[in-house]
Symmetry: C2
Subunit: 337 residues, 2 copies
DNA sequence: CTGAAAGCGCTAACAA
DNA sequence: TTGTTAGCGCTTTCAG
């Protein structure tokens, strides 16, 4: 942004007005073919790049979207980013990325900035602390379309892309029951989270259908550190009425189970079975290979972005929105026999 | 960006000039405490958010940086993004993310856009196709500071943050040799890549020090699909002079080895040892647990960002740059006995 | 087909 | 301490 060439430079060099140059570069129909060619050529020669901020200011659009995520910790969000980026690129949009680190305060701070017109739309997966969506509604009311993906805020009227969390919770429980589990424990990090609740509800329903009792104490709320979580899992496995099956509702809760079992002389899947929500390729090479519920992470990201662009195109903003569900799949492997 | 309040609105409501309001909000020393208070309060009330693009246009800075990555595929880049974001946030900068998908054409297209002033600085990890850095040099000459991280382009004079790839390649070979390997194969995806070459050079040196011969045929260039790579590894393991040790210079090349060995009745680490460059937590729970060379991904991202902000602060742009190396660590586990 | 002119919202000289 | 004015680079009426 130093010796940058501007429209003015081109205009002067060619003895044209700035307006003409601008129009020529936009391939406006009302410009002579001859001048158009001249302009385009000189622009290329001088390596002209329009100043995006001047243009945004004038046009009142930024050609930029924001992606607001809790973290880029697990494989789900990594893949989702790829999906989002691929469609943004295609549409000629730029992608700003923000991490909330699961903090509502941060999420609010980030979103409040968007009333300024920095972005034309927002993709968000809410933090675990986000219970009410007033800060999100505010943004929508300010005219910036929002699309939720994965972690939604149901009370807010906006487009969303989710996966069948309830159904997967149910399937998970049923699958384990079918494999002979009598006591299935559910590992999660933040039970308040919408998707976590869905999965848990599904899990309860699955237990019911399988004729197994639900016990409050089988819901294990884990923390963030690996050692902490391992200790927790070991404690449970030492009980006399220990579970014989685990559902890890979050990728990172897989590790503590694989770590704890051998320490206590327990075998997977003979003594303890495990089924995890994860997209890790490494599931294949764990031993035994990990049974997973794999989310369509890339597709969810891409679909969310498409939905956002749809509402940007149509300027339908207020009112029109879509709710899409893309199914996850259960892939049974050795960890559930 | 509809009913957005502007400086003008505040000025009118308060009977002040726009300039005064602007200065008051910037806490300028030349504004009376009384008016300052009035202005700030009304701004808060009206939920005023300055238009960033107007401000960028005028000030000629965007408070935005670009992060250009090959992909968000492996754990390294995920962690690096977290590192970058954390320091950008602290400095009040916004982060645009771009993926090259290992394509030089894309990388060029992305970078050429940055001559327009969209970003104040760039963090980049180059694509595997990037051999010469002319497109990057162009950007730097246009006055936009660039910091390389991990995958650098040595011929370009810019700040960079790398890890000790050469040394790690060497250590890797020595470690395997020490554990008894006689024939160590090196798995990589793109041998042209700078860091890949460094690691490979280190590997050769390691072999030499260990008194093992280097064989061109022990360098295995893999592709991107898992099945393809597994077939490749199996083919090698079927040879009569098969390797008894592998170095996976890329995270995703771990899987084919873990997959192929049991298929051929080979045991890790008894028959085949494996050491991988990876940051995956799952290394802990593979069986046997995977020996790794773990890169300081978060720190590298954070350091690169710090370096960038340093050159932004000091406007030292041209000329002043720093080269930082942060060491990776070898963590021996079961896969190398 | 082309040009003149206004203005997007903000900042920063220069006045007062 | 505050206001006036010019202008960042671009788009877009409105004239010609």
């Amino acid at each position: 942004m130093k010796g940058t060439t501007t429209l003015k430079d081109i205009a002067q060099r060619l003895g044209l007005s700035i307006a003409t140059v601008s129009r020529a570069l936009q391939d406006s129909y009302e410009i002579g073919a001859a001048t158009k060619k001249k302009v385009v050529q000189l622009a290329k020669e001088l390596n002209y790049q329009p100043n995006p901020y001047a243009s945004s200011l004038r046009r009142r659009v930024s050609k930029t979207i924001a992606v607001v995520l809790p973290e880029v910790a697990d494989s789900f969000f990594s893949l989702a980013i790829n999906g989002i980026e691929s469609v943004a690129l295609e549409k000629g949009y730029h992608v700003l990325i923000y991490l909330t680190h699961e903090s509502l305060v941060r999420e609010k701070a980030i979103l409040s900035e968007f009333k300024s017109g920095r972005v034309d739309g927002i993709l968000i997966s809410v933090s675990e602390e986000t219970a009410n969506g007033s800060h999100i509604r505010e943004i929508i009311e300010a005219g910036v379309p929002v699309v939720f993906f994965d972690r939604v805020c149901d009370e807010v009227d906006a487009s969303q892309v989710v996966t069948n969390d309830y159904e997967c919770g149910r399937i998970a429980a049923l699958h384990l029951a079918q494999q002979g589990c009598k006591r299935i424990s559910y590992l999660c990090t933040s039970p308040a989270l919408h998707i976590s609740k869905k999965r848990m509800d599904g899990y309860r329903e699955g237990l019911r259908e399988a004729g197994l009792p639900f016990r409050e104490t089988d819901i294990i709320v884990c923390g963030s550190s690996l050692t902490e979580n391992s200790r927790l899992v070991e404690k449970i496995l030492r009980k006399k009425n220990r579970p014989d099956g685990f559902i890890a509702s979050v990728e990172k809760l897989t590790t503590p189970v694989y770590l704890s079992c051998p320490r206590l002389g327990l075998q997977i899947p003979e003594d303890v079975k495990l089924l995890s929500f994860t997209n890790l390729q490494a599931a294949l090479i764990l031993s035994p290979p990990l049974s997973t519920i794999t989310q369509p992470a890339f597709e969810m990201g891409a679909t969310a972005a498409s939905l956002l662009f749809k509402s940007l195109d149509k300027k339908k903003r207020h009112g029109y929105n879509e709710r899409v569900m893309i199914n996850s799949v259960l892939i049974p492997r050795g960890s559930t026999q």
